[in-house]
């Protein structure tokens, strides 16, 4: 035990590239965003996209008619969708990583407390009621929050808000809204409304437009930032409530802030893009392989990698065939092999 006085490598011996590993994820996200702005039915070379961005910033000159064309293509058509992919991918991934620490379980995803089930039921209800797009989004958002509120309420009313009661509360609330969704689907008009519900549930970034993204970007970015700030507290919380409390961490406050922020941004992802599965479960694991389990680094890395992953998946969804694939299907198909690789790599850390 103690007297094994092995030689210890001094701190300076850690190679420089290992200390810079946290930069990999943001750089990857940046590259993916550049690629997403360039690829499409009218492909641009990446340097031309960069040239346009410099021109838009007023740094480089560009011919006015070329500028107008590229402005239409890059800013009007592609940028809202790229922004949506970044915000949705980052939100789902950072929520998943935060939940995995909060619930001390690496197999947890952002839907654990029922937010996705609630949002789906909300959207389906609005579609059946013949509401317009904005109302569908609002209804998804509000019912996503309501589902988590019910789950957390059950946990506090019956079990003092312990981890296991939160999970059970989430299961109950998720089941409630899943059955509500089934009722709505059953009552929906099978020729017009039912297909809309089904397509919506498969997820798509195609509906993203500038107005939506403008109001969604600020709260989502704030929620992502707030979760990233909880990193050190979540590390302590993952060791156990009593330990975290004995380390001076305000456990209840951290838990409520984390659940509130994760719920808010997850519900917004559903209202923007429908159901996009798997990403909140697997991206945290990829990020953990890259920067280790410490949440202070893991959460920002998960957000960046999630953005890159969804940009990549959306690129496939748009470009694989002439008709666009639902992105939820792409993330699931991509996610399964990725998850198998990750499982193989991290298994030791979980079981010993």
């Amino acid at each position: 035990m103690a007297e094994i006085a092995a030689a210890r490598p001094p701190l300076a011996a850690v190679p420089a590239f290992a200390r810079l590993r946290w930069l990999a994820a943001p750089l990857l996200a940046l590259a993916a965003a550049l690629a997403a702005l360039s690829f499409g039915r009218y492909p641009l070379p990446a340097w031309e996209t960069v040239h346009f961005l410099f021109a838009a910033a007023g740094i480089a000159p560009m011919a006015p008619d070329r500028y107008a064309l590229l402005h239409n293509l890059i800013v009007e058509i592609r940028l809202p969708r790229v922004l949506a992919a970044i915000l949705v991918g980052a939100s789902l991934s950072v929520s998943g990583a935060a939940y995995q620490a909060l619930f001390r379980n690496p197999l947890v995803s952002p839907g654990l407390l029922g937010v996705l089930a609630g949002a789906s039921a909300g959207a389906a209800l609005a579609i059946v009621a013949g509401a317009d797009w904005l109302l569908v989004q609002t209804s998804a958002f509000v019912m996503g929050l309501a589902a988590v509120g019910i789950g957390v309420g059950i946990a506090h009313a019956f079990g003092g808000g312990s981890i296991i009661m939160l999970i059970l509360g989430g299961i109950l609330s998720g089941a409630l809204f899943a059955s509500l969704l089934t009722i709505v689907k059953y009552m929906a008009d099978p020729y017009s409304q039912l297909p809309s519900i089904v397509y919506w549930l498969m997820g798509s970034l195609g509906q993203a437009n500038f107005d939506d993204m403008a109001w969604a970007a600020i709260p989502m970015a704030l929620g992502i930032l707030l979760l990233c700030l909880m990193g050190r507290a979540l590390d302590a919380l993952a060791m156990g409530d009593d330990e975290a409390r004995a380390l001076g961490v305000p456990v209840t406050a951290v838990r409520l802030v984390t659940i509130a922020a994760a719920t808010l941004i997850s519900a917004m992802t559903v209202s923007i893009a429908g159901m996009i599965g798997w990403i909140g479960l697997i991206v945290p694991h990829i990020a953990r392989l890259l920067v280790g389990p410490g949440n202070a680094r893991l959460l920002p890395a998960a957000a960046s990698l999630g953005a890159a992953f969804l940009l990549f998946a959306d690129g496939l969804a748009r470009n694989l065939s002439t008709a666009e694939l639902p992105i939820g299907i792409v993330t699931e198909l991509l996610g399964i092999p990725v998850f198998l690789i990750v499982l193989h790599r991290v298994r030791r850390g979980w079981t010993s």
Binding site: M1, A5, L247, V249, V346
Partner: protein
């Protein structure tokens, strides 16, 4: 620096666990708390750390009630060393020990060079700097226990409250860790630990407290407290106390036929 619990009452549902327990821990002493399974040892520790609220009774730090201290202040006075467990994520030993700096930095501020140096000193103090970059999930139980104690030292708390620090360790590690705890007490740390082996406090503790029927029935020097009568009262088994030539007790040994005497397990 003294942590004192006075007249603590506590129960789970209708089952009373603690009924008037009083215990103090001062800097510089190693105190062993003995009690049978379910006697409420862990509960008493958690109440003394303010992690569980007693139904009745009061815990004070240097005479001031616990309620008057913030969690962070308290964490810089008394540290909790839980029973060895497995973390759900493979944090490195250094990362676990660095959590001990949370009371000083708060949860939002990143640890600085001084914090890292404090953690390094704690690891060196316990002789485990070579484990610093190993995952906490992949080291032995004894090494995990040392990591948790290093975290408590990094916390810069003078009082260490330990829940069965020796449980699950092999005999060699038990002896070495107990020596280390004695060393910490000699340096001025106050250590309160629970244990199931009445032989352990015979060798090192300054004080032994016996938790029986929800109260600290006896509290004093091991030589006076740990008698065959006390052990029979505590565990319901009859024992002999083996003594040195000058009459000092060194070990308990179950008496013949003990399996048929006392209460059933």
């Amino acid at each position: 620096m003294t942590l004192a619990a006075r007249d603590i009452h506590f129960g789970y549902r209708s089952r009373p666990v603690l009924a008037g327990a009083s215990l103090t821990l001062a800097a510089g002493e190693l105190v062993c708390l003995l009690g049978c399974n379910g006697a409420g040892k862990s509960t008493l520790l958690k109440i003394m750390l303010g992690l569980t609220r007693p139904a009745r009774g009061e815990v004070t730090v240097d005479g001031a009630p616990l309620a008057g201290w913030s969690r962070r202040e308290l964490a810089q006075i008394a540290a909790y060393v839980p029973q060895v467990h497995v973390a759900p994520f493979p944090y490195t030993v250094r990362q676990v020990a660095l959590m001990g700096r949370l009371p000083a930095t708060g949860i939002l501020k990143a640890p600085g060079a001084a914090d890292l140096a404090r953690v390094q000193r704690a690891l060196e103090h316990l002789g485990i700097p070579h484990l610093a970059e190993r995952p906490y999930t992949e080291i032995s139980g004894g090494e995990r226990q040392l990591t948790l104690i290093a975290r408590a030292l990094a916390q810069e708390a003078r009082l260490l409250v330990m829940d069965e620090p020796l449980a699950g360790l092999d005999y060699g590690n038990q002896v070495r860790l107990l020596e280390r705890l004695e060393g910490l007490a000699a340096e001025g740390y106050g250590v309160l630990m629970t244990t199931h082996d009445p032989n352990q406090p015979l060798s090192g503790c300054q004080r032994v407290a016996l938790l029986i029927d929800g109260r600290i029935a006896v509290d004093g020097a091991p030589g006076e407290v740990l008698t065959p009568t006390a052990i029979e009262r505590l565990y319901g088994v009859r024992v002999d106390l083996l003594r040195t030539a000058d009459g000092r007790g060194i070990a308990f040994r179950p008496m013949d036929g003990v399996r048929h005497a006392g209460r059933s397990p």
